[in-house]
Symmetry: C2
DNA sequence: TATTGTTATACTCTATAACTATA
DNA sequence: TATAGTTATAGAGTATAACAATA
């Protein structure tokens, strides 16, 4: 019996997570902390409130994640120039280098995955996966409203 | 700029997780506990060692998950018929009904996702996603050996 | 009065190590 | 001696609620 499309997608998600967990082992990084680093690379220096929004977690949680990332030298807290309640979190030069490398690996992995698809199927797969992501996002948003 | 295929797949994984978390809210279920229930529905009554293997977690962790599921009435522990060291964990009738419903939802969601893909792309998407899953599994297994 | 970040507390998932009862 | 499950301990991620300083 063929596995369902959904089962394949769930399997892919599990494999990514397993791979990430091992790739970060021993580096002091975890998926949640890398998520913060990604947000900082894309958005630049940010307040913790902003990070909470970008990562979809509570401000309290961001405090803990930034504490850990500060401890491992990945980020720095600096005073906010105009709002003395807030702090700005920014990547250290080392972390910028790490994130640049990670982004390259990311692009290479994406290319490697596409190379596993038969050449005549590649366009359809890119279109189809994008359509699935958008459809699923709409379903989840709809379920969220009905809450 | 088009998002990478990999970004789409990661987005799909995040959306599934978000949807599951909300679907289970208030039921006492969590992704890890549902994983145990799935394993039990597919494998039938099982020892905790067997569940640890099926779920890919430590036996100690299974003890905690089964404790929680027993507390919410989803599973029962019964003595193993031939090995007095072991226990058999089995679904309660209520949990069997819950899992049957969940399996139906699962199939419907899979069909819904496929329906979001253009009809002429569907075969290619099913082939391509399967190929990606197998390719990724091989990459992860290879990285695991090099450990 | 509203917002930013923190302290306090709690729950879940996860792991390793040591221990008990049984094979 | 090896295996099944548990107790003990620890760390990470997550949440809510109460509080301080500042806007």
């Amino acid at each position: 019996m063929e596995p369902l499309l959904l089962d394949r997608l769930l399997q892919i998600g599990d494999l990514f997570q397993k791979d990430m967990d091992r790739a970060f082992a021993g580096t002091g990084l975890t998926p949640a902390r890398v998520h913060v680093l990604w947000a900082l690379q894309h958005a630049g220096p940010s307040t913790q409130q902003a990070l909470a929004g970008l990562c979809g977690v509570t401000p309290r949680n961001i405090t803990a994640l930034v504490d850990a990332l500060e401890g491992t030298g990945h980020v720095r807290r600096t005073p906010h120039p105009t709002d003395r309640r807030a702090v700005l979190v920014e990547l250290t030069p080392d972390a910028v280098a790490t994130m640049t490398r990670m982004q390259q690996d990311h692009q290479e992995l994406s290319a490697s995955l596409l190379s596993a698809v038969a050449p005549e199927d590649r366009d359809a797969v890119e279109r189809g996966v994008a359509a699935i992501a958008e459809h699923l996002a709409a379903l989840v948003a709809q379920a969220g409203e009905a809450r």
